[in-house]
Structure formats: structure tokens, C-alpha cells
């Protein structure tokens, strides 16, 4: 039986009727039309479906939508502060050429955010560890790792500007 729930996605409430077996991934893509979140492996290995739930990166393909009532969900569409400005993570991915086909990018950037919000100056090892659950089949990892490092610097500088 379908249950009506309210999903808070990127700051907006969406009322949706979901079956218990529908994943957050399916509901985001098919009911709310947020197709930035991808479906890859369906088993938590590839990270393409990564979204933030209450500030933590999770695999939306292994999350039941029915359990998401009252949670704050952020997808790649909600990362940039406005339609015109890119988030430092997005900016760095563009600058460093860390985007090839783009399929892994939304998940990569969510995983990067998961790391950088607590640790804006990660070591190379920490970046690799944080992105270990995200696969890029264009095999462009080097530039992605560089981009995450630069993004951390930018986020740190931005927050220092804010507090000074």
C-alpha cells in the first residue's frame, strides 16, 4: 500500500505517495524529476547515487524512501547556493578538468562534500579514502582528487572571509 510522505529535498517540501519498496533514488529521479542523482550498481559499490541525508552522504539506491520523512535531503541540484553561482566543489571540478562523461560527478561531489564539510584540508590519503566508494569509469581519478583538494581550500577561504 502506498503511503503519503513529505520529502524535504534541497530545502523544498515534496509530498509524494510511495510504496515501501521504492528507494529514495527512484523517488528523486522519477517522482521529483531530480535526475542529477544517478543509478549505477544498486549495491553501494559505485557511489553514483550518493546524496546527503541530514548532512551525511548515503547511497540513495539502498535507502527506502519511506524512511526519509522528516530528513533533510540534498542532491547535486541543491549544492550550488543559487542558479548562477557554482559551489566551490563544482567550480574546482570544472577548473581541474575533473569531469569527463559526467555520470559519476554528482556522486563524487556529494562524497567530496561529506569529507570537506568536516575536514577542509584533507591529505591525499583522506581524499582517496573518502572517494573510495565512488567509481569513475573514465578513470579520471587524479584530477578528481586534485579538484577535491582545491575545493577544500576554497571552502576554507570562503568560511574565513565570512568570519573575518
Amino acid at each position: 500500500m502506498k503511503q503519503v510522505i513529505v520529502l524535504n529535498v534541497n530545502g523544498e517540501p515534496y509530498t509524494v505517495a510511495v510504496y515501501p519498496w521504492q528507494t529514495l533514488n527512484e523517488v528523486l529521479r522519477e517522482e521529483i524529476n531530480l535526475t542529477g542523482v544517478k543509478f549505477g550498481c544498486g549495491s553501494g559499490d559505485c557511489g553514483a547515487c550518493t546524496v546527503m541525508v541530514d548532512g551525511r552522504a548515503v547511497s540513495s539506491c539502498l535507502t527506502l524512501a519511506i524512511e526519509m520523512q522528516g530528513k533533510e535531503i540534498m542532491t547535486i541540484e541543491g549544492l550550488a547556493p543559487s542558479g548562477e553561482t557554482l559551489h566551490p566543489i563544482q567550480e574546482s571540478f570544472v577548473e581541474k578538468g575533473a569531469i569527463q562523461c559526467g555520470f559519476c560527478t554528482p556522486g563524487m561531489e556529494m562524497a567530496a562534500l561529506n569529507l570537506l564539510k568536516n575536514n577542509p584540508t584533507p591529505s591525499d590519503y583522506e581524499i582517496r579514502e573518502a572517494l573510495a566508494g565512488n567509481l569513475c569509469r573514465c578513470t579520471g581519478y587524479k584530477k578528481i582528487i586534485e579538484a577535491v583538494g582545491v575545493a577544500g581550500q576554497k571552502m576554507k577561504e570562503a568560511s574565513e572571509r565570512k568570519t573575518s
Partner: protein, 289 residues
């Protein structure tokens, strides 16, 4: 690929969960869902009922008590165990094992107890808790009981749980002074893939000699395996290079691994020797500090 259809239940108390399990035979408990939903999507598991334990209040607690030791509740996330300041301080190997489980996303969803209850011989969180003589707390229709984790694993995916029973927590005792622990696992893709071989050890020192030694090996049998004869080699002795070498060889002889997609049997045996040497050496050093 869609999940097959099921009814979803979200009890708010342990008693409700037990009653639901009694009312719905064949139902499965789910915490993070990072094992169960994969089995449903990719391995053809069909369930009529899924009972989520995430809404049960109070099960997500982690406590480190000076006298009672460590308790990890059934819905405490791997990520929270991995980063818990007191676990990092007093039970660093427990935090390390949690941090070495899967990837960041799965650690934000999955639980230590879920990892134990799935009873994979490769479960990353089992060997170190076994080495520390941890116990699981079980609630069921007959009441509450505690069981040494050592008696909990019965085979791949099989535990000692009776019908309608639920594990609510795992408890590790307070570690004696001069205790050292270590865990090392190997897998194909960093820490991410299922562990191909893992070894954990706990050593309690009296002077320079090992008063107590516990060694558990994962992914080399239907359950994590206790290396009793290897422990006997080290017990009562100072861990010299010769003793460590002998212990490593004994440990390799104490397992009968199979060959599978993750490693050949021969590689596993060789690595058991290597990892046993390393964890004994690490645990010994830590116990001496």
C-alpha cells in the same frame, strides 16, 4: 533493477519488534539495509515483511564506561563507531575495523550489529570484537540473554539467534591494563571489497610475557576461526621473532580456506601467516606501551 515487493514495519520498541517477528514468520530485521536490500535486489531474496529496527528508540547509543566497558547499540552507525572519541581512545581496533568496513556512504547507513548479524565469514567488525571476548545482548520471546560472540556465529549467514530474537547491542569488556589489540585485513580494492583474509589479536601482558592471547581469523572458514593452537604457542612467552614466526606458521596450518573470487586457498594460507605475525607484533607493542 527494482526491489521486490514487501510490507514494511517500523516498530518503536524492542517488544513490538519481537511481537512482529512472532506474528510474521519469515520476516527479516533490517537496520541500515546495506546487506539486506542488496540481497533483495541482486540475489533474488524475496520477503513478505521487512521489519526496520531504526525507529526503535535508544538502540543507537554507544557508551564507553570505565567499569562496564564498551556497548554499541543495534542501530549505531559504522561511521559513528569509527569516529567515536572514546572508542578511538580505549578501543582503537574497534574504531579501525568500523572505518575499514565498506565505504563512506555505507558507513553512514550500515551498523556494526548488522555486520555481525549477517554473519559473513568476512565481517570486518567480528574478529576484533571476538578477540576482546565481546558478548551480544539478545532479546526475544523468552526474555533477555547475553551470549559470548564466540558462540554466535554458526555458519555463513547463520547465527545462534532463535526465531523472533533480536540482537540489541554488543558489549566488549573493560580491557585489562597492558592489553594490546590489532586487526589487519586484506582485500582487492583497498578496504572497500569484502575482506579476503583478516586476522585480529588481543594480548594481555604480565611483565614481558603474554598472559593472555586471543587470535581470530576471518574469511578462512564458514565463520571467523579462533586459532587456539597459535594462541598456545604465544601464551606465557615473550614474543621474540622466533615465537612470532612459529605462531604465524601455526596459524596458517590452523585454517582450511577455500578458493573463491576474492583469493585462492594458497594465498589465504600464506597471508594468514603474514598477518598473524603482524598483528601479534603490533598487539604486543601496544600492550607494552
Amino acid at each position: 533493477m527494482r526491489l521486490s515487493h514487501f510490507d514494511y514495519h517500523a516498530p518503536e520498541t524492542v517488544a513490538q519488534a519481537i511481537a512482529l517477528m512472532q506474528a510474521k514468520p519469515g520476516a527479516r530485521l533490517m537496520a541500515g539495509g546495506t546487506d539486506l536490500l542488496i540481497k533483495m535486489r541482486h540475489a533474488g531474496l524475496k520477503l513478505q515483511d521487512v521489519i526496520s529496527v531504526k525507529s526503535i528508540k535508544g538502540l543507537n547509543t554507544i557508551t564507553v564506561d570505565e567499569n562496564k566497558g564498551l556497548s554499541i547499540g543495534a542501530t549505531a552507525l559504522l561511521a559513528d563507531v569509527a569516529l567515536h572519541p572514546d572508542i578511538l581512545k580505549y578501543y582503537p581496533t574497534v574504531a579501525q575495523a568500523a572505518r575499514g568496513t565498506a565505504n563512506a556512504q555505507v558507513r553512514n547507513m550500515g551498523t556494526v550489529i548488522g555486520n555481525l548479524c549477517n554473519a559473513s565469514p568476512a565481517a570486518d567488525n567480528a574478529p576484533t570484537l571476538l578477540a576482546m571476548n565481546a558478548e551480544v545482548e539478545i532479546h526475544g520471546p523468552g526474555g533477555q540473554r547475553r551470549m559470548p560472540l564466540e558462540q554466535f556465529f554458526k555458519g555463513p549467514g547463520i547465527t545462534a539467534l532463535q526465531p523472533a530474537e533480536i540482537v540489541t547491542a554488543v558489549h566488549a569488556p573493560k580491557l585489562a591494563p597492558h592489553t594490546g589489540t590489532a586487526y589487519i585485513s586484506l582485500s582487492a580494492r583497498g578496504q572497500l571489497d569484502c575482506t579476503a583474509v583478516g586476522v585480529a589479536a588481543m594480548i594481555v601482558l604480565k611483565g614481558k610475557a603474554c598472559e593472555e592471547v586471543r587470535i581470530f581469523i576471518s574469511s578462512c572458514g564458514p565463520t571467523p576461526v579462533r586459532a587456539l593452537k597459535t594462541e598456545a604457542i604465544a601464551r606465557g612467552k615473550e614474543l621474540t621473532e622466533a615465537v612470532i614466526e612459529q605462531a604465524g606458521n601455526q596459524a596458517a596450518g590452523e585454517v582450511k580456506p577455500i578458493a573463491d573470487v576474492r583469493a585462492s586457498a594458497g594465498y589465504r594460507e600464506k597471508m594468514v601467516a603474514v598477518l598473524t605475525r603482524r598483528v601479534l607484533s603490533q598487539a604486543y607493542t601496544r600492550a607494552s606501551e
